[in-house]
């Protein structure tokens, strides 16, 4: 494990208070719990995105994202931002605007190259004249060759795909990596200051920001990334990345030592994501060895939640695994790791990389080691690489970049703006007393969270032993929910003599009516993991709702709100179990279908003449789609949006919300 010498870094201070100049205003006010006018003891729902990349991320930067962290915050609060591609004069050819502001945001730029980008862009910094920086800057030119751009991107980014024992900073960072460490410290200070500048410290509490970054380790491009979230401006000296700490357990140890235990007011947690692209290793120990008690305790303590869904697909469950679950097929992308996603090479995901498998493994580990390392609560996010937090609208999708289609070069995308297997991503919702850092951070830590595939479906879940069967008739359901049990993310301790735990789930629609609520139960039976889906605890799966594929207009009735009290009919008080709710909307068009409809794509008389994606690598490398296409024969290219007529993905989806599970802990 490499340590950065404080002597090397010198007296670097993160100037995090609002007025950082000596003559400026005094440091921002306190952030004590209960300072907001909208404080609700029974907690409110707040919407956010904790996975956002801006031009500070190397991959986004290389893809032509020019918008900054400040732009991302503006976007989250409702302002429009510019999108690539830019023309020669530097004018954007596209814009984006969120339909409703978010309540909170954490920007999560990749930490690995924060310093690298700074070194390569600042002529006074040592390392600026290195060949790697020259190549990088050449790749930034308006008329750069896409192949050159890709080459320099791969050359540097591949460092994050080296085995942990071999990974290292780029050579441009100089002896001891000092150039990049020093520059990275400055950038990190800017990130923290940027979050401070937009955090609403008035008692209106309109917007909350968290400093954060993404630790982007991916040996062999098997995704092990996780986002690091800080509660406030008291942060670690550097955003420790894969080069500094090549194992997640090292990262947690360092965060524990230098943040949580440091006595500086620092607090932090990590958010797991994209286990679907890990080839099944996300839920293993980083060094591949057998789990230890120390490891499972650290993971349980430091990593309370996971993104169940984002731009690069869902990680809930894989169709055909464990049990029959018709709704497991939602936004499953047919790729096994980051490289196959980037290059669009079809490859089967590993079922061990899915959350439902991990929940079972976690319970088994708890049996042997006393702690469940995978007792995750649920979040969802965009993982946008265009500085557009919360940009989840299926009917306004412009591509999120990252592992998707970059859209850097002119002309603006004429066909789909992203690899069609990818999607707009989702949102995280928290139940918190107020929209402020302490309350939201605490909600995430206690897992009183849920994720949605984009719509702001509001769902509440409580588990207890003695709820009345007609709790849904009580206007004070929420008060009784807390009083008689635990909210989503909580753990129910055994209660002798009870017939079984009871769960109350209450949900309300966003723009589209709800169809039904499901409960997913997992448990250990004689040491074997079992899962069962209760497909309709309330609502109506056969309500006849559909969508007009010519207009994308939803058809049929649904429910504005749904509520149900459900008791487990097969409860065994001796076995560990978890229960989570899935709230399902009526069917709607997927983004690909919206775009075909919006373009008035006529399958009888197609209007486009060439497939840009296939023959222009800068527009995306749809390898399997392009296999049959001969780009040397332009007269015989297939029509660009033949995919509108023969879609490779489901044209209709059912958006949803997933609650954090409530866990049952049998008597020891």
């Amino acid at each position: 494990m490499r340590r950065i010498s404080l002597l090397v870094l010198g007296p670097v201070w993160l100037v995090v208070a609002a007025g950082c100049g000596k003559d400026s205003a005094s440091p921002a006010g306190s952030d004590e719990f209960g300072r907001c006018a909208d404080f609700h003891e029974l907690r409110q729902v707040y919407w956010g995105d904790t996975h956002v990349h801006t031009n500070l991320s190397f991959d986004a930067n290389m893809q032509g994202t020019r918008t900054s962290p400040a732009d991302a915050y503006q976007f989250a609060q409702g302002e429009p931002i510019a999108l690539q591609p830019y023309d020669e004069a530097g004018n954007p050819t596209r814009m984006a605007q969120i339909d409703r502001p978010l309540d909170f945001v954490m920007l999560s730029d990749h930490a690995e190259f924060l310093g690298t980008l700074a070194v390569c862009n600042d002529p006074v910094l040592p390392g600026y004249d290195s060949q790697q920086c020259i190549d990088y800057r050449n790749a930034q030119a308006f008329d750069a060759d896409p192949a050159d751009v890709f080459t320099i991107f791969v050359e540097l980014n591949a460092l994050t795909a080296l085995p942990p024992q071999d990974t290292h900073y780029p050579s441009l960072c100089g002896p001891g990596d000092v150039y990049c460490l020093e520059a990275g410290t400055d950038v990190w200070a800017e990130v923290v200051n940027g979050a401070e500048a937009v955090y609403d410290r008035s008692d209106s509490c309109e917007f909350t920001s968290f400093p954060g970054y993404e630790w982007s380790g991916g040996p062999g491009t098997k995704n092990l990334h996780r986002n690091v979230m800080f509660k406030n401006a008291n942060v670690t000296e550097l955003p420790y990345n894969y080069f500094d700490e090549p194992y997640a357990e090292g990262l947690w140890a360092r965060l524990q030592e230098e943040c949580i235990d440091a006595g500086t007011g620092c607090d932090t947690l990590t958010i797991a994501h994209n286990s679907n692209l890990s080839e099944g290793i996300y839920f293993e120990m980083g060094n591949g060895e057998t789990f230890t008690a120390e490891y499972v305790e650290a993971r349980n303590a430091m990593e309370p939640v996971i993104e169940i869904y984002q731009h690069k697909g869902a990680s809930e469950c894989l169709p055909g695994e464990t049990i029959s679950d018709e709704l497991c097929g939602f936004e499953i992308i047919p790729f096994s790791n980051l490289a196959t996603t980037n290059l669009e090479v079809i490859s089967a995901p590993d079922p061990r990389g899915f959350l439902r498998e991990a929940y079972g493994e976690g319970m088994k580990l708890e049996e042997s080691l006393g702690t469940n390392p995978f007792q995750y609560g649920i979040t969802a996010a965009t993982d946008t690489h265009i500085s557009a937090p919360g940009f989840v609208a299926e009917d306004d999708f412009k591509g999120h970049g990252g592992a998707g289609q970059p859209n850097r070069f002119l002309p603006p995308p004429a066909g789909f703006p992203d690899i069609e297997y990818l999607s707009p991503g989702g949102l995280t919702a928290v139940w918190a007393e107020e929209n402020a850092r302490e309350a939201i951070f605490s909600a995430i830590r206690r897992k009183e969270t849920f994720g949605t595939s984009g719509p702001r479906i509001v769902v509440r879940m409580f588990g207890g032993w003695d709820y009345p069967n007609n709790l849904c008739d009580f206007a004070d359901l929420e008060a009784q929910g807390y009083e008689g049990g635990v909210p989503m993310g909580g753990t129910l301790d055994a209660q002798l003599g009870s017939a079984g735990p009871m769960f109350v789930v209450s949900a309300k629609q966003d723009a589209v009516p709800l169809q039904r609520i499901q409960i997913v139960k997992g448990w250990l039976e004689g040491g074997e993991y079992q899962v069962k889906v209760y497909p309709e605890v309330t609502g109506d799966a056969n309500n006849g709702a559909s969508v007009n594929l010519n207009t994308c207009t939803p058809q049929g009735e649904g429910f504005g709100d749904l509520c149900s009290v459900w008791q487990d009919p097969e409860f065994d008080p001796t076995e560990r179990a978890y229960y989570y709710a899935r709230v399902i909307e009526n069917p709607t068009c997927r983004w690909t279908t919206y775009q075909c409809v919006q373009e008035n794509y006529d399958c009888e008389t197609p209007s486009r003449e060439i497939d840009l994606d296939c023959c222009d690598p800068s527009a995306g490398l749809n390898v399997d789609w392009c296999e049959s296409i001969d780009c040397t024969d332009p007269d015989n290219l297939p029509l660009a949006d033949a995919r509108c007529c023969v879609p490779r993905v489901e044209p209709v989806i059912q958006e949803r919300a997933w609650t954090s599970p409530i866990w049952y802990q049998p008597p020891s």
Binding site: A18, G29, V45, D143, A197, D473, F474, A475
Partner: protein, 292 residues
């Protein structure tokens, strides 16, 4: 980086301009000719003059020769013109300069204007806003920092999904029941809806976002202490009784200092850009030539 740019830039043109401005005397400055089309408007002319000055300044400080993007681009142009050349990059670059290619290439032009714009907006340490300036800024632009007033109200909700055809009749009965409550809270009345407790506090715009225009209007217009409704939302029917309303307000500087500072800096950058550009403009002798 900006600090470095400033060293290269403005030291000549800006200080020169400032000297002219302060001393109020005529000093021989750079002289340029700007060509515009015959039908160019005054705004077009001003933009053309601004760009010409900035490009000239950029060249005075050699950015067209030192900027890596400019270098690469000009070399690439030369290799396109002369693909068989065996000259090295430097030689090609010098030939491009001899041909004055940097003056006409749109990419080079765009790059140089960008760098010049960034340098113009640089905020030196001694211009960083003081607390007094921030206070003045907050006073002058209170509207930018104003917070919407909140409304605190009691509510009773009747679910359309749950009550179906009985909703209307249930609403009539509920109205009767509420009229007899007096000052008592509506404890236990109505249906639950996640996130909407018996007593609620929110801004009208948030109510509108969550429950629609009708309920927001009823809340915003309601007389304090009187049950109103039902208002319709996608979820069903709502009765509300406003308890109190806060007026819109501007938080104190101590609370929102970071926000005010960021806003002031944005403004300051724009001011500095204009101030420096004006100084440069004053220092230049510009001839306008209208061409067909």
């Amino acid at each position: 980086m900006l600090r470095t740019l400033l060293h290269f830039f403005l030291i000549g043109g800006l200080l020169f301009g400032a000297k002219v401005f302060i001393e109020g005397r005529r000093v021989e400055g750079p002289e340029i000719t700007v060509r515009v089309s015959m039908d160019a408007t005054q705004g077009d002319v001003e933009n053309a003059v601004r760009d010409a000055i900035l490009l000239n300044e950029a060249r005075r400080y050699g950015w067209d020769k030192r900027d890596p993007i400019v270098f690469t681009h000009l070399v690439r142009n030369m290799r396109f013109i002369d693909p068989d050349s065996i000259d090295g990059d430097l030689a090609l670059y010098e030939r491009a300069l001899e041909m004055n290619m940097q003056a006409h290439d749109p990419v080079v032009r765009s790059r140089l204007l960008y760098r010049a714009g960034e340098a113009l907006a640089y905020v030196p340490e001694d211009r960083m806003p003081t607390r007094d300036e921030l206070e003045a800024h907050l006073r002058a632009h209170g509207d930018r920092f104003e917070r919407e007033g909140r409304v605190r109200f009691q509510q009773v909700f009747l679910s359309r999904s749950k009550r179906g055809d009985a909703l209307s009749a249930d609403a009539s009965a509920m109205r009767e029941q509420l009229s007899t409550l007096g000052e008592r809270p509506p404890k236990g009345l109505g249906d639950p809806l996640p996130g909407l407790g018996p007593e609620h506090s929110a801004t009208p715009s948030k109510i509108k976002e969550d429950y629609g225009v009708e309920l927001a209007q009823v809340v915003e217009e309601a007389v304090t202490g009187v049950w109103r409704g039902p208002a319709t939302s996608v979820y069903g029917l709502h009765f509300v009784k406003v308890i109190d309303q806060d007026a819109a307000y501007v938080p104190a500087l101590d609370i929102i200092a970071a926000e005010v500072r960021a806003d002031r800096l944005r403004e300051l950058r724009a001011e500095l850009r204009k101030e420096r550009l004006d100084a440069l403009r004053g220092a230049y002798t510009v001839h306008i030539e209208r061409v067909p």
